[in-house]
């Protein structure tokens, strides 16, 4: 796998520039690309989320908002102006810092959360050769960098000097740290079978054998443990007790407004995209097309299998996973705190540990 940074460095060095000039420029380009991905992702995902909630709960607003008088019919294009309205609202909102808040930390906290999501994107591949930087320890890098965000959540809650915020951040810390364990154990299973931490190698293994979710009954179970835990990790309903509107106003983001709140929003949707892409790479065959599984399509269809279609298939899988996350969000009620901890410590972790043992046995036998 060649990464975007590598190929940029290679193409810049043909201009006979010094490496001290090339590297900052290339790094800057990489960062801009990640920021664009995050911004576009948030715009599209917010529209997606509002429309899905409107379809599921009969909400009227997101179906009506037009743009410059263009109403766009009732169903699909109706509400196309909602995204623009949201963006303008976030940018022109008054920026408030409470008097007794720890101002330095309150300003710093959103940037820590944003940095966590930003750094994670560096290692996330979008297709075989479309990755900002290709790490040998790819999946471990993503796991490591996604654990930074929780510090920002705790600091945001504490620095606001507000009891709802403090409650929210305590809940967030307990929840995110707990759910990292089943996620780590499920990913360990993949590393155990494929024998590599490199995401390209993991997909290559799936190309040679079969999609990981279909590898054995235990990996099938592991996918669901992973997926449900990532929903908890991204703080989405039914696991959104840190921001539980009906009890904590908005939890750890109660005192935030304007652009700093927009950063939370951006990071939440970026994390959704990251976990969906990681789930589809690790368990659902990454950039391999699902057509290869069935083997019943005529040869002319196999053009969809080519490496050029990798980006399409990976986004296709990720978008389906994101849709299921939204579907779950708008149909299930919120869990109680003790139910959340029960689910993690007494169901997911024992199952993940037993899974690990049985997958090792499965690998020995077959």
């Amino acid at each position: 796998m060649t990464s975007i940074l590598d190929s940029l460095v290679k193409s810049f060095s043909s201009f006979n520039l010094d490496i001290a000039v090339i590297l900052p420029v290339v790094t800057l380009i990489g960062g801009t690309v990640i920021f664009l991905i995050m911004a576009v992702n948030a715009l599209v995902a917010v529209y997606f989320e509002r429309k899905i909630s409107a379809f599921m709960q009969d909400r009227l607003g997101p179906m009506e908002v037009g743009i410059f008088g263009f109403k766009g019919g009732k169903k699909f294009w109706g509400g196309i102006g909602q995204t623009l309205a949201d963006a303008i609202k976030l940018l022109v909102k008054e920026d408030i810092l409470p008097n007794n808040a720890d101002k330095f930390l309150m300003i710093l906290a959103p940037f820590i959360i944003f940095t966590g999501a930003f750094l994670t994107f560096i290692g996330v591949p979008f297709a075989q050769n479309i990755v900002i930087s290709d790490f040998n320890i790819g999946i471990f890098y993503i796991f490591a960098m996604s654990s930074i965000g929780v510090i920002g959540v705790i600091l945001a809650g504490w620095s606001s000097n507000n009891k709802w915020s403090l409650y929210g951040s305590m809940r967030a810390a307990a929840q995110i740290i707990s759910y990292e364990i089943p996620i780590g154990l499920s990913l360990l299973l993949v590393v155990l079978v494929t024998g590599s931490l490199h995401l390209g190698d993991i997909v290559q293994w799936q190309a040679d054998h079969r999609w990981f979710i279909f590898h054995s009954p235990f990996t099938f179970l592991a996918f669901f443990i992973f997926y449900i835990s990532t929903i908890a990790e991204t703080n989405r309903t039914p696991f959104d007790i840190p921001e539980a509107e009906s009890e904590l106003v908005a939890g750890w983001m109660t005192e935030y407004s304007g652009f700093r709140w927009a950063l939370f929003f951006l990071s939440e949707y970026a994390n959704m995209l990251i976990v969906s892409i990681v789930a589809s790479i690790v368990f659902l065959g990454g950039w391999l097309s699902p057509l290869q599984i069935f083997n019943i399509f005529p040869d002319s269809w196999l053009i969809l299998d080519g490496p050029a279609m990798g980006l399409f298939w990976i986004l296709f899988k990720a978008v389906i996973l994101i849709f299921i996350m939204m579907w779950i969000r708008w149909t299930f009620p919120r869990l109680r705190v003790d139910q959340l901890m029960y689910l993690c410590w007494k169901i997911f972790i024992p199952f993940a540990l037993v899974n690990l043992l049985f997958v090792s046995l499965w690998e020995l036998i077959f």
């Binding site: 930390l105 040998n136 471990f140 960098m145 929780v150 600091l155 504490w158 951040s169 305590m170």
Partner: protein, 161 residues
């Protein structure tokens, strides 16, 4: 290029470590520790130890630091800590710190450092795994038993009787 980057990262480690010690606000110390630990991971990357660097971030930033901030956050009177309020034992403490500093400087200047040219390596994960499970198996197992005992102790202490 690489030297400048190294100097920036090393300066960040030292400056944030200073702020950890001298900040009057406990939680600011804890936040400053983020930058110390994260920049240390950057120093590991300079040594081609990518796996160690990621482990540093997972364990120290994602685990231990969260626990520290969580603990500090729930203590009373964060703004007015009474850590350095009493001047007892300042002399002995200072002497101890100075001795350790002198020993470390002596070690740094007397070690024959291996200075090679930069070269890209393969992944270090495989060799770390081999060494842990072959040559250093006994220490590895002892550490894991120690951690298991700590885990059981923590569970026992926090249980409501």
């Amino acid at each position: 290029m690489a030297e400048n980057l190294f100097i920036i990262i090393a300066a960040l480690v030292i400056a944030s470590a200073f702020w950890v010690v001298f900040s009057p606000n406990l939680i600011h110390s804890a936040v400053s520790l983020i930058f110390t630990l994260f920049s240390t991971a950057g120093l590991y990357i300079f040594l081609y130890a990518d796996f160690i660097a990621a482990t540093q971030v997972v364990i120290y930033v994602g685990g231990i630091l969260v626990l520290i901030i969580f603990g500090v956050m729930l203590t009373n009177s964060i703004d007015t800590p009474s850590i350095a309020a009493s001047s007892k034992n300042q002399f002995i403490g200072g002497m101890g710190a100075l001795t350790i500093f002198v020993i470390q400087v002596a070690v740094i200047f007397n070690t024959p450092w291996h200075i090679g040219t930069e070269q890209s390596r393969d992944s270090t994960v495989a060799s770390i795994g081999n060494l842990l499970l072959n040559e250093y198996l006994l220490p590895f197992e002892i550490i894991s038993i120690l951690l298991l005992a700590a885990l059981m102790g923590a569970a026992l202490l926090s249980r409501r009787t």
